[in-house]
C-alpha cells in the first residue's frame, strides 16, 4: 500500500514544479504576438510605412474611366459589346453610368488611399518622435500627405468640374476626408476647398519628404514638385506650374533617347517598376479595365497616328500597327500592359515649355521642346522646331503634348482645361454601332457622375450631366 507520507512529499514537489512553470510561461511578448497580420493594429513607424507600401492593391493606382472617355482611344463595335456596362457608358458619355448596386473602383480605390493615409496621419499625431526616429517620422508623414493629395487630385479630375478661379467657390468639390473615422458623414465642400486642401497637403509634404527614395512607388520631393506642376497646370495657374516644373527639372531632367531602345518585346518602353525607365519620377498605374488593359479591340485613331513623322521613333515604339486601321497603343511607361499614369520628366518638359510660352519666353520654351524631341527622333533626322510668335509656339507645344502623353490619363484633364480657351476647343465624336455620339466643349459630361451607391448612402449632390 502507498505510504501517506510519501504522497505528501510528492505533492510538495508537484506544487513547486507548477509554481515554477507558471512563473516561466508568462512572457508577455509571446502573448502579444498576432496569429495574422490582418489583426495587427498599426502602431509603430514601421507599421505605418508598411501600410503605405501596399502598392499591390491600394496605392499607386489612378482612375481609368477618364482614359476610356477620352479621344486617346476608340473601341470597335465587337470590343464595345464585350465591355462591362460602366465602361460602355463612360465610352459613350452616357448620362448615367452606374448600376445602383455596383461600386466604382475609380471612386473606391482613391478613397481607400485617403483612408490609409488618414490612418497613418492619425497614428502619427499620437506619436512624439525622438531624435533617432525624426527622419523616418517625417518621411512617412510626407508620403501620407502626398498620397492623400494625389488621391484627391485624381478624384477631382474625374468627379468634380474643371477648375475656374471665378466659380470655384460656388462649384461643388469632392468629399474631403481628413481623419480615418468612418462614422463621419461624407459631404461635398466647394471646389476651392478641394484644391486648397490638395495644396496644403502637398506643401506640407514638400517640407517633410526626402530628396530621394529607394523605390519609385514612394514619393520624394521631386515627385511633390511634379504633382504641383501638374495640379497648377490643371488650374490654369501657369506661373506656379512653371515654378514647380523648373525646380523639378533642376533636380531631374533625364530623358530616354529612343534611339537606344533595343527591345523586341511588344511593350518596348523601359520598365518603370524595375527602375530602368530613367524618366519616371513617381510610379502610378491606372485601374484595370476591360477596355484599356490589353485589349486588341481598343485602337488608336489613324488620324492621331498620322500626326507622327516617319522619323519620329514614337511612331514605331509606341504603337503596334496591324493594318491601316488597326493600331494598338503599346507605349506604356510601365514597360508592361499596365497603363502608366505616374509622373515622368517628359511631362514636366512639356508643362514647362507650355508655361514659358504662355509667359512670352518663346525661345526658352522651344529649346526645351527641342531637347525632348531630339530624344524622340532618329539621330540626325531631327531639325529643331522654331516659332515666330507665341501662338505658333503654343500650337507646336500642345501638338507635341498630344503626341507624347497619350494613354497617360492626362488627355481628359487637358481637354477639360483647354476647352476653356476658344482657340483650343475640341469636339469629340464617336460612332458606336452606327450611332454617332458627340461631346461638346465644356459639356457637363466632362464631369463623371458620382457612384449611385455613394449618393444613396450619403445624400450628397450628384453632378449634373
Amino acid at each position: 500500500m502507498t505510504n501517506p507520507k510519501y504522497i505528501k512529499k510528492l505533492s510538495y514537489y508537484l506544487i513547486a514544479v507548477l509554481f515554477c512553470s507558471l512563473q516561466l510561461s508568462c512572457k508577455k511578448d509571446f502573448l502579444e504576438k498576432k496569429p495574422d497580420k490582418a489583426l495587427l493594429v498599426p502602431v509603430t513607424l514601421d507599421d505605418f510605412q508598411e501600410l503605405l507600401n501596399n502598392s499591390a492593391d491600394v496605392m499607386n493606382f489612378s482612375p481609368v474611366l477618364p482614359l476610356i472617355s477620352s479621344d486617346d482611344l476608340f473601341i470597335t463595335d465587337n470590343g464595345y459589346n464585350a465591355l462591362p456596362p460602366q465602361e460602355q457608358k463612360s465610352y459613350a458619355w452616357a448620362q448615367s453610368i452606374y448600376d445602383l448596386n455596383s461600386n466604382s473602383i475609380d471612386w473606391d480605390r482613391p478613397y481607400k488611399q485617403v483612408f490609409y493615409a488618414n490612418v497613418v496621419l492619425d497614428g502619427l499625431a499620437n506619436k512624439a518622435p525622438d531624435q533617432t526616429s525624426q527622419e523616418q517620422y517625417n518621411r512617412i508623414k510626407g508620403q501620407a500627405l502626398f498620397t492623400r493629395a494625389l488621391a484627391f487630385y485624381n478624384i477631382s479630375e474625374e468627379f468634380a468640374a474643371p477648375y475656374h478661379k471665378a466659380s470655384a467657390n460656388t462649384q461643388p468639390g469632392i468629399p474631403i476626408r481628413l481623419t480615418a473615422d468612418v462614422n463621419i458623414k461624407s459631404v461635398r465642400g466647394t471646389l476651392q476647398q478641394t484644391y486648397d486642401q490638395i495644396l496644403i497637403d502637398l506643401n506640407t509634404a514638400l517640407t517633410l519628404l526626402p530628396a530621394s527614395q529607394n523605390y519609385l512607388t514612394r514619393p520624394n520631393k521631386i515627385a511633390a514638385h511634379a504633382l504641383l506642376a501638374r495640379l497648377y497646370l490643371s488650374m490654369g495657374d501657369y506661373k506656379n506650374a512653371s515654378i514647380n516644373a523648373s525646380i523639378c527639372l533642376q533636380q531631374k531632367n533625364t530623358l530616354i533617347n529612343f534611339n537606344n531602345i533595343q527591345s523586341v518585346s511588344t511593350y518596348k518602353m523601359p520598365k518603370s517598376l524595375a527602375g530602368t525607365n530613367v524618366e519616371v519620377i513617381y510610379h502610378q498605374v491606372m485601374n484595370f479595365s476591360a477596355a484599356t488593359t490589353v485589349n486588341a479591340t481598343t485602337l488608336v485613331d489613324p488620324s492621331l497616328y498620322q500626326l507622327y513623322d516617319d522619323n519620329d521613333l514614337r511612331k514605331t515604339l509606341f504603337f503596334k500597327k496591324t493594318d491601316p486601321v488597326t493600331i494598338n497603343f503599346k507605349g506604356n511607361y510601365t514597360g508592361t500592359y499596365e497603363n502608366f499614369s505616374g509622373m515622368a520628366t517628359d511631362e514636366i518638359y512639356l508643362i514647362q515649355a507650355e508655361c514659358l510660352t504662355r509667359s512670352g519666353e518663346i525661345q526658352a520654351a522651344m529649346d526645351l521642346l527641342n531637347q525632348l524631341l531630339m530624344n524622340r527622333y532618329v539621330t540626325g533626322k531631327f531639325s529643331p522646331l522654331t516659332a515666330n510668335n507665341a501662338e505658333e509656339a503654343l500650337n507646336k507645344i500642345l501638338l507635341e503634348r498630344r503626341k507624347e502623353l497619350l494613354f497617360r490619363g492626362l488627355r481628359w484633364s487637358d481637354l477639360r482645361r483647354l476647352n476653356q480657351e476658344p482657340t483650343y476647343q475640341t469636339t469629340l465624336t464617336r460612332t458606336i454601332k452606327g450611332q454617332t455620339y458627340t461631346l461638346l466643349p465644356n459639356s457637363d459630361r466632362y464631369t463623371l457622375p458620382i457612384p449611385e451607391s455613394v449618393i444613396q448612402a450619403t445624400g450628397m449632390q450628384q453632378n449634373p450631366r
Binding site: 464585350a82 445602383l100 471612386w107 483612408f115 488618414n118 468629399p175 480615418a180 468612418v182 455613394v454 450619403t458
Partner: protein, 317 residues
C-alpha cells in the same frame, strides 16, 4: 420563435403521434451591407439581415395489424420554408444566377435563378438568350443587362416537403422493415459541358456527345456546338439557362432490414441476453423522380451513393 405542439394517441396505442407547427424568424442576422465607400470601407458587416421561417413536422406511428403477424407504420412528414426578409447587400443580376447562394429579398434563402433560354441557333448551334425581350447571341450584354427583375427564379434548392415512411412486418422472431424517404418541392440545375474547361484541356462532361453538330440537331439537343475559342459568356448562357433546371422531387428506397431475434426468455440456455442475426441493405436507389433527365438530383456530381449490404450478428451480453 413560436412553437405549437400536439401529441396524440388513440385507444390501445393503435395510433400515436405528434404535430409541431413553428415560426422560426431570424432577426438581426449578421450580414454585410453596402457602406459609403468614400470612407475607404465598402461594406459593413453587422446585424442587418432577417429571415422568415415557417414549418411543421408531423409524425405518427400506427399499428395496422397486431396479432401473430405484426405490421407497423412510422410516418414522418415535414414542411419548411425560409424566406429572406431583408438583406442589404445586392449583387449584379447575373451574379444571382452564376454565383449560387446569394440571398435575395423575398426569395428562399437558397434558390436557383436562370437565364431565359431561346434555344440553339439552327444555323450554328450557338446558344441563345434574350436581350431586351429579343432573341440574342450578345452573351456579354445579356449577362450585363440581367437584373433581379428579368432573371428567372426557378425555386428553392432545399426541399419544401420531406420525410419518410417505414413499414415493419414481423412474424414471431422474424422482422422485416422497409424505409422509404421522399423529398419534394425543390429544384436542381443539371451539370453540363463547360467548353472553356474542354478547350483548356481540363476535362469535360458526357453532354459533349450530345452537342449540336449539324443543322437539324437542334430538334433533339440543347447542348450548344463546340466553339472555336473560349467564350465564357457563351458557356454561361447555356450552363445557367432555365432549360437545365428541373424539379428535384424524388422518392428513394432508403434501406431494408431483415432480422431474426432470439432471447433468453425464449431459450433459457442461450449464452447471451439477446442475439440478433440481420441483413441490412442501404441506399437502394430511386423509386421515382420527377426530372426528365433521368438523374438522381441529390447525387449528380459524384454519382449515386454506393449501395451497401451488411450481414451481421448482434449480441447483447
Amino acid at each position: 420563435m413560436f412553437n405549437l405542439g400536439l401529441d396524440f394517441s388513440f385507444k390501445n396505442q393503435i395510433l400515436t403521434g405528434s404535430l409541431d407547427y413553428y415560426h422560426k424568424d431570424g432577426l438581426d442576422l449578421i450580414g454585410s451591407s453596402p457602406f459609403d465607400s468614400t470612407t475607404g470601407v465598402t461594406t459593413f458587416t453587422g446585424n442587418n439581415a432577417s429571415t422568415k421561417g415557417r414549418g411543421f413536422d408531423l409524425s405518427f406511428q400506427s399499428k395496422n395489424i397486431d396479432r401473430i403477424i405484426k405490421w407497423q407504420t412510422n410516418f414522418i412528414f415535414s414542411y419548411n420554408s425560409t424566406i429572406v426578409q431583408s438583406f442589404k447587400n445586392k449583387v449584379s443580376g447575373s451574379d444571382y444566377i452564376t454565383n449560387y447562394g446569394q440571398p435575395l429579398e423575398s426569395k428562399p434563402l437558397l434558390a436557383i435563378y436562370s437565364y431565359k433560354w431561346a434555344g440553339l441557333d439552327p444555323a450554328t448551334g450557338d446558344p441563345r438568350g434574350y436581350l431586351n425581350g429579343q432573341i440574342s447571341k450578345e452573351y456579354d450584354q445579356i449577362q450585363n443587362s440581367t437584373t433581379t427583375e428579368n432573371l428567372i427564379y426557378n425555386g428553392p434548392t432545399t426541399p419544401k416537403y420531406f420525410g419518410s415512411i417505414r413499414n415493419t412486418f414481423s412474424y414471431k422472431n422474424l422482422s422485416l422493415s422497409i424505409n422509404i424517404a421522399y423529398r419534394l418541392g425543390y429544384y436542381f440545375r443539371k451539370n453540363t459541358v463547360n467548353y472553356a474547361s474542354i478547350l483548356q484541356g481540363q476535362g469535360g462532361h458526357g453532354d459533349y456527345n450530345l452537342r449540336w453538330q449539324k443543322p437539324g440537331d437542334e430538334n433533339f439537343t440543347t447542348v450548344p456546338s463546340l466553339p472555336n475559342t473560349i467564350d465564357y459568356g457563351r458557356d454561361n448562357i447555356y450552363r445557367f439557362s432555365e432549360i437545365l433546371v428541373a424539379p428535384a422531387d424524388h422518392i428513394r428506397l432508403q434501406d431494408i432490414n431483415l432480422s431474426y431475434n432470439l432471447n433468453r426468455s425464449q431459450i433459457t440456455k442461450l449464452p447471451f441476453a439477446n442475439i440478433q442475426f440481420y441483413l441490412y441493405a442501404n441506399n437502394l436507389g430511386l423509386l421515382w423522380k420527377k426530372n426528365h433527365f433521368g438523374i438522381d438530383p441529390d447525387n449528380q456530381t459524384y454519382g449515386p451513393i454506393p449501395r451497401t449490404i451488411a450481414l451481421g450478428v448482434k449480441l447483447d451480453l
